[in-house]
Structure formats: structure tokens, C-alpha cells
Point group: C2
DNA sequence: TGACATCTACGAATTGATTCGTATAATCAG
DNA sequence: CTGATTATACGAATCAATTCGTAGATGTCA
């Protein structure tokens, strides 16, 4: 009964990335896009996308011979879900701890730091109201 | 040849959490600590910890009858590894995007925001040099 | 039309994570 | 010492993710 969409696995996430950036796509298009990094067969991508449709991670339009798939959730929605999970299982729910590790793991550029600063300012404003 | 320790799975991470907070512990101690949330048998915990020792995730002191296990990496080290992975597979390496999701997923407290602000200030200082 | 390409469906092998049962050894209580 | 308890070791079942091969339907084109 319409359970919430499960967290995508790594392979599934790679496919979602293509759908999010390209928009609705056929298996062929997704497979070609992934072929730069992956070296798996076409039917592997097909099977994964079929399973993702069963899970509700993607929607399938079967009106054309080549079915067209689209991500069922927005990128941000899925990202939030993944962050949430990581926060729970590894950071005891402390967003601050995660942010600290994120920054030390991948040194942010000047632009990114400015963006984060903007985020915090906004956040403080909301809190202040 | 001493390959880098692999990313821990969810079940392994739960065990590591106990080792990080309690310090070096026996299987019994870990299992009891986990029993609050888990309902798995003792031998399951044992087997997991044995596998973790093989993988290098934990170190085992066999001098006593009840072996004593300790996390092989500091909590922060593992956290960085996990954040790194998530950043790569879901955020295109953008720490700023991850920070944004982290904050919207789990609203941070005033104290946490102040802490993050401090981090950014430090970071800016380093950059300025 | 006939050969060839392309698509979906599907079964199945493989691998890794997780789980537990059972065997066996060490320890302890009385 | 003997029986009960508590350890470790280990084989094996289960389940999910990933991979691919093959079959059958559909479309293309010379």
C-alpha cells in the first residue's frame, strides 16, 4: 500500500543521477550515459531500471516501444533521505558533526564557503523570527 | 598488502558505535549494548565481529578467553570516509549541497549553528593565509 | 520479403551481508 | 571431579544487489 520509496542503492543512484540531469530517458540513453564510467552490459541497466520501477524509484511510460523512465522523486528529496540515514547511523543525529566532516573531507571552494555562509545567515534569520 | 579498511556496513557501524563510546569491549558487552535496539542472537554479533576483524575494521586481543575488540579507526576517520562516499555518489562532490540537505533534514540547534559558523570562520582564516 | 538490429521480459548465477544452529573448548560452582 | 555456563569457530541458510544470457516481439532497410 504505497509504502515510501526505499533508499536507492549505489547502482540505482547512478541511474537516478542520469535521469535527474537528462530528464526522462530510455534505457538506451541511460546506459550510454553510464558507459563512460561503467562497463556493464545493456541488459544489466535494463534489469536495474525494471526493478527500480517495481520499487517505485522511477516511473515508466510504456506508450512507445522504447519505454521512457523518469525519477519519481526530486533529487533533493532523495538527497535528504540519504543524509538523514547517514546522520542517524553514523552521527547520532548531529548535523553539525556531519557538516564538519563534510568540510574536512572535501575542502570547499571559496564560492562554496560563501554559499554555506549564506545558508547559515538565512537559517539564523528564520530562527530569529 | 594492507589495503585500506573498507566502509563498514550498517550492522557493522552499529557495532563500531558501541566500541567508540565504550572503548575496547568483548562480544558479550557489545551484544548487550546492542540488545536494546536489536533482537538478534549472540552468535550473530560474534560472527559479525569476527568478520570485521578479518576486514581490519576492528582489532582483536585474544590474550583473555573472552577476546577484546577495539575499533581500528577513530570515529572521525570513519565518518569522513562515509561522508566522502555519499558526497561522491549523491552530491557530485559538492560539500555545500550536502550541508544544505543536512541542515534542512535535521534542523540544527542554535548551538550547532554557532559551531558551524565557527568552523567556517576557521576555514576562511586558513584560506586567507 | 528477409536479414539484421533493437527492445523487453525473464530466469539464473554470483556475490556480499546477515542470520543462526551446532560443535567444541574453557571456566566455574558445588 | 562433574554438570552447567559461557566462549569461540564454523558451516550453512536466507535475502538482496548485481550481473548477464537467451528468448521472443517489433522495427528497419536494402
Amino acid at each position: 500500500m504505497a509504502r515510501p520509496t526505499p533508499r536507492p542503492t549505489d547502482a540505482e543512484l547512478a541511474i537516478l543521477q542520469v535521469l535527474w540531469t537528462r530528464g526522462p530517458s530510455t534505457v538506451r540513453q541511460v546506459h550510454d550515459a553510464l558507459s563512460a564510467d561503467r562497463e556493464t552490459g545493456y541488459t544489466t541497466t535494463l534489469k536495474l531500471m525494471q526493478i527500480m520501477a517495481e520499487k517505485g524509484l522511477v516511473l515508466r511510460d510504456e506508450s512507445a516501444r522504447s519505454h521512457v523512465y523518469a525519477a519519481s522523486q526530486a533529487r533533493g528529496e532523495t538527497q535528504r533521505q540519504l543524509v538523514d540515514h547517514l546522520l542517524d547511523r553514523a552521527f547520532g543525529g548531529s548535523a553539525a558533526a556531519l557538516v564538519m566532516q563534510a568540510l574536512s573531507a572535501h575542502p570547499a571552494s571559496k564560492e562554496e564557503i560563501a554559499e554555506i555562509q549564506r545558508l547559515i545567515d538565512d537559517y539564523r534569520k528564520e530562527r530569529a523570527e
